[in-house]
């Protein structure tokens, strides 16, 4: 095994130490990631765009800062992959859609600007379901991403590219975005850590919106500590985003370090009755239950809580999200940027005819489905019955959370009801696909933070299971404390990290990009 392949297996926190001590350089590390990408991404297809030149230049600049004794941050020099839904100046940003093919933004998303300011070389842009619409990354216009655990299976979605890149050791860190579970569910099915911060905790400026009131960008990593380190880089108030919270972030890294001691005395953990049991794969439920017992063993007080409105969450979500999406996607009209299709059958087409032809050719089926759904839900005469009712459900869900957080400091559930399903299995059954987000959606509707931490492999299929921890708004530190504790407890049992399993390599044939 080469020095490079050792490097790519290490956590970001480890790598930061190695960079600080001079054990390695950012150029060496970045090159190792690029080599790994070249080696396996032909099979995984986590990336839509790799910026080797840019990443190496940023790495060299980072090494110069370190040499001068002026690192920009603890993670200065640690490379990262960014979901293709965040605007990157000078780098293509497609959102997994044909309609944005070739668009190069003239500006950086705030998250991206903060990564650059902190010195993290950007390896490239990761694959996703078109405009973050999906739970499998199969709805990418550029072809699906494959789960490193089993290439015939989905890596989750919409951020399957980011989770697969991290799981396949192509990048130590990635950025995802989570509207209904698009960070956490891919984390669950790829055995990685994914955090959806409190709504407003991370700037949405430059995040191409799926549903503005639900979207949050967050860390995709292999360890809870790495997620905390990255969260502290990207989080905090941004005057360019009116919905950004003007308050300091809690001490996340400190909470993760505290959690690693695996002492949860005095922490009340609420198991959500509605998020488990029927409809959940047996092995998923089993690993979840075992994890809860580990928390009890670490001193946590476990209570069962009920959130009766959660049963309506999926229905409310599939009205609010497409309503906002239908409006957000209206701007893709061939007038200013992106794809322009001239209708073949019309001479001198009008602007409206060009818009129609472009949107017909440029949007995939799932995007069209949601545009139609949202347009319908907002239509005069239907608004109250659909959008209005959904907003009421949203309020009820927030109240359920409030009540539950009166009884418990954190809530827990399986992240997704199943392990990774085979590619193609649910493509013709949108409702079955939507059900994959049943446990993650309530957090988006209420704006509360959540994390998915690997909980082991389901006995029946040997695929990763995710354990979700939810905390009250602004209390993201609790995710890190409990998540890090569970991680430490499980790794003690296994004797190694879930993703450290060398057998993962047998599952990824070398397919050069």
């Amino acid at each position: 095994m080469s020095a490079g392949s050792d490097l790519v297996r290490r956590s970001a926190a480890d790598l930061a130490d190695a960079l600080a001590s001079g054990e390695t350089t950012s150029v060496e590390l970045t090159r190792a990631c690029l080599d790994r990408i070249a080696q396996v991404d032909g099979a995984v297809h986590a990336f839509l765009h790799v910026d080797a030149e840019g990443a190496l230049a940023q790495a060299a600049a980072s090494d110069a800062r370190r040499a001068a004794g002026r690192p920009a941050s603890a993670l200065d020099g640690v490379p990262i992959a960014v979901k293709d839904v965040l605007a990157t100046e000078g780098l293509p940003t497609t959102c997994g859609s044909r309609i944005l093919e070739g668009w190069v933004p003239p500006y950086d998303a705030t998250v991206v600007a903060r990564l650059r300011a902190a010195g993290l070389p950007i390896l490239g842009k990761t694959n996703m379901d078109e405009f973050a619409m999906g739970s499998s990354t199969e709805h990418s216009a550029y072809g699906p991403t494959h789960n490193p655990w089993d290439l015939d299976r989905i890596p989750g979605g919409s951020g399957g590219g980011s989770s697969a890149a991290v799981a396949a050791f192509e990048a130590p860190l990635a950025i995802g975005t989570d509207t209904g579970g698009s960070i956490r569910q891919p984390g669950a099915v790829t055995g990685t850590v994914g955090v959806k911060p409190t709504y407003g905790g991370v700037s949405r400026y430059g995040l191409v919106a799926l549903a503005n009131s639900l979207d949050q960008a967050g860390p995709v990593t292999r360890t809870v500590l790495d997620a905390a380190l990255l969260h502290e880089v990207i989080g905090g108030h941004d005057p360019k985003d009116s919905t950004s919270i003007d308050a300091p972030l809690p001490a996340l890294v400190e909470a993760a370090r505290q959690g690693a001691a695996a002492d949860l005395s005095g922490v009340r953990v609420g198991v959500v009755r509605e998020l488990g049991g029927e409809g959940y794969q047996a092995g998923v439920q089993q690993r979840f239950d075992e994890a809860v017992q580990l928390l009890v063993g670490a001193g946590a007080e476990v209570v069962e809580v009920s959130c009766p409105s959660f049963v309506h969450a999926l229905a409310a979500y599939y009205l609010i999200m497409p309503s906002e999406a239908s409006s957000n996607l209206a701007r893709f009209d061939a007038m200013r940027y992106g794809l322009r299709v001239l209708p073949e059958t019309i001479d001198n087409p009008s602007a409206e005819e060009v818009m129609r032809a472009t949107r017909d050719a440029g949007f995939g089926d799932e995007a069209k489905r949601r545009i139609i759904l949202g347009t319908y839900a907002l239509s005069s005469g239907y608004y109250e019955a659909y959008y209005g009712q959904a907003q009421k459900v949203r309020t009820l869900i927030s109240r359920d959370f409030e009540a539950a957080f009166g009884q418990a400091d954190v809530l827990v559930s399986p992240t997704a009801p199943t392990t990774a399903f085979p590619i193609g299995e649910k493509l013709d059954d949108p409702l079955a696909m939507y059900l994959n987000d049943i446990a993650t959606i309530p957090a988006n509707l209420a704006g509360v933070p959540g994390v998915s931490v690997p909980a082991g492999l389901a006995p029946e299929d040997g695929l990763p299971v995710g354990f979700q921890v939810l905390a009250p708004a602004l209390a993201d530190d609790r995710l890190y404390r409990v998540g890090a504790a569970l991680e430490a407890l499980l790794e003690k049992e296994w004797g190694r990290p879930l993703l450290g399993l060398d057998k993962l390599d047998h599952r990824i044939p070398e397919v050069t990009r």
């Binding site: 933004p105 003239p106 549903a211 409006s327 209206a330 701007r331 009209d333």
Partner: protein
């Protein structure tokens, strides 16, 4: 014009009013004069190079987000207060969804059922035709905040409209400029005065906005735009008829004419037993008619929903009260005060009000002119010019300061009235400031006593009989000689001095 229903004939205005009562609703869009746009930091200068005042947000680039301009909210609240509105304790922006190439996001960020200001009123005055004024109270439904769209320029084709154009250019400098839309409740009971009331309302609104200093309110530049909604009901019936919405009626005179035209046109349709089509109509300044504009009739469902990228606007009560303290005097009190200060008779003041001349006279007086002199200039010469050109006094290409300078030159004896009018001509024609015009046109009064004396001698010699009369003590006859001298001097003489010279020579 285009469609049959558009040329279906007109009923004489007075005759129409015998059978129908008009109801109007006026929607006025005001561009605020904030330094930056409604939701981004781009500048708002009028007439800049196309697409130079843009950024990811006002271009609607993917991922960009809006941030509310606090100054625009302040202006909106002040407008609301000046219109006696309630100010919302909590309100939101909403998305108005429709597709149009000059709208970067294909939705306009506006306000829907939660406007920042609502339930207000203002009062307008019109001449009652019998030497008095009649007052009307106009109820304000709402005033809300929104962003302007870009501007399309349709190139080629005959009409300058989108249909038939070879291609179109879009300038997004205007996209995102803060707008306040002010909507009245239905204005009824104005009968034959409806067009005059419509005009008076827009004029009153313009004066209020000018007084607040929140907008340039230049109708010809589009910073104040009016839509006239009008319907006819059978006389005596309280059931409103079907309305039309005439868009972008962009001068006070046009507001009046458009209302008048729609009354005559709709009356003809109703007389023919047909029904008025609820539609958008275009006003044509040149021909003085409205035509159907059905382009958007299939897109009337705007699918409004609360803008999720913005947090609610919740102006605190102390702030609202603080802003109330910054309001200028209400127009009626202001008129009464100015009339007293200026010493105008009721009739004089009425004409000043009717001509919309208060702001220009005030500015001219502020520049050092006596109120009477200021009134004389603005209500005679300049009013005639404005009328000829179909523009407002304030829109004439001469400033109150320039008028004041002309009057100063007259007071100093450098110009007489006739020359002063020529200077005004020059300023209006764009020849520069009064002093520059005087110099360029050589209009100063001849103060060379020798030349003047010779001209007087010539006049006496040419009119011996008049001279005799004056010698006989009939000083009033001097007028004829003064006229001859002035003619001789091509008007560039001080008539008073000429008179003195004549009387001296013929003593």
């Amino acid at each position: 014009m285009t469609a049959v229903s558009d040329s279906g004939g007109l009923v004489d205005f007075d005759e129409a009013l015998e059978r129908f009562d008009p109801a109007m609703g006026l929607e006025v869009h005001v561009e605020l004069n904030t330094v930056t746009k409604m939701f981004c930091g781009c500048r708002t200068e009028f007439g800049a190079e196309p697409n130079t005042q843009t950024c990811p947000t006002c271009l609607g680039l993917p991922g960009s987000l809006p941030v509310v301009n606090g100054k625009a909210v302040e202006s909106a609240i002040r407008i609301g207060l000046a219109l006696n509105c309630e100010i919302a304790e909590w309100c939101r922006f909403a998305r108005k969804n429709y597709f149009y190439p000059d709208m970067p996001k294909n939705f306009q960020t506006s306000q829907y059922d939660e406007p920042i200001a609502f339930d207000g009123w203002t009062e307008v005055e019109i001449n009652d035709g019998e030497g008095g004024v009649e007052r009307f109270r106009i109820e304000i439904e709402r005033a809300h905040m929104e962003e302007d769209t870009g501007k399309s320029l349709h190139v080629g084709g005959a009409t300058g409209r989108i249909h038939g154009a070879d291609y179109s250019l879009v300038d997004y400098n205007r996209a995102g400029i803060p707008l306040i839309e002010i909507v009245t409740k239905p204005i009824t009971g104005t009968r034959e005065k409806a067009p005059a009331v419509a005009r008076a309302y827009v004029a009153a609104l313009r004066d209020i906005l000018l007084g607040l200093g929140v907008s340039d309110v230049r109708m010809e530049q589009g910073s104040l735009r009016c839509d006239v909604n009008l319907s006819l009901a059978l006389a005596g019936s309280d059931k409103l008829g079907t309305r039309t919405e005439t868009k972008n009626v962009n001068s006070l005179r046009s507001v009046e004419r458009a209302a008048r035209y729609e009354i005559s046109r709709q009356a003809a349709i109703l007389d023919a037993g047909e029904s008025v089509l609820q539609e958008t109509r275009h006003w044509h300044e040149d021909t003085g008619i409205t035509t159907s504009g059905r382009e958007k009739s299939d897109a009337e469902d705007y699918r409004y929903f609360p803008e999720p990228d913005l947090v609610p606007v919740a102006p605190s009560r102390p702030w609202v009260e603080e802003l109330r303290g910054t309001l200028p005097e209400p127009p009626r009190e202001r008129r009464a005060r100015l009339q007293a200060v200026w010493g105008f008779a009721d009739l004089e003041m009425r004409d000043v009000v009717a001509a919309g001349a208060i702001p220009v006279i005030e500015a001219t007086v502020a520049a050092g002119t006596t109120p009477q002199a200021a009134r004389k200039w603005w209500l005679s010469d300049l009013a005639r010019r404005a009328n000829e050109q179909g523009v407002e006094l304030a829109d004439l290409p001469i400033s109150p300061e320039q008028v004041a300078r002309v009057q100063t030159l007259v007071d100093e004896g450098a110009l007489n009235d006739k020359l002063a009018r020529q200077v005004i001509d020059g300023v209006v024609a764009g020849e520069g400031d009064p002093d520059a015009v005087v110099k360029a046109r050589g209009l100063a009064i001849v103060s060379d006593e020798g030349a003047l004396s010779e001209a007087v001698d010539r006049a006496i010699a040419a009119n011996p009989d008049v001279a005799d009369k004056i010698r006989d003590g009939k000083a009033a006859a001097a007028g004829a000689l003064i006229g001859a001298v002035m003619k001789d001097m091509r008007g560039q003489a001080d008539a008073g001095r000429v008179r003195e010279l004549i009387l001296e020579k013929l003593a």
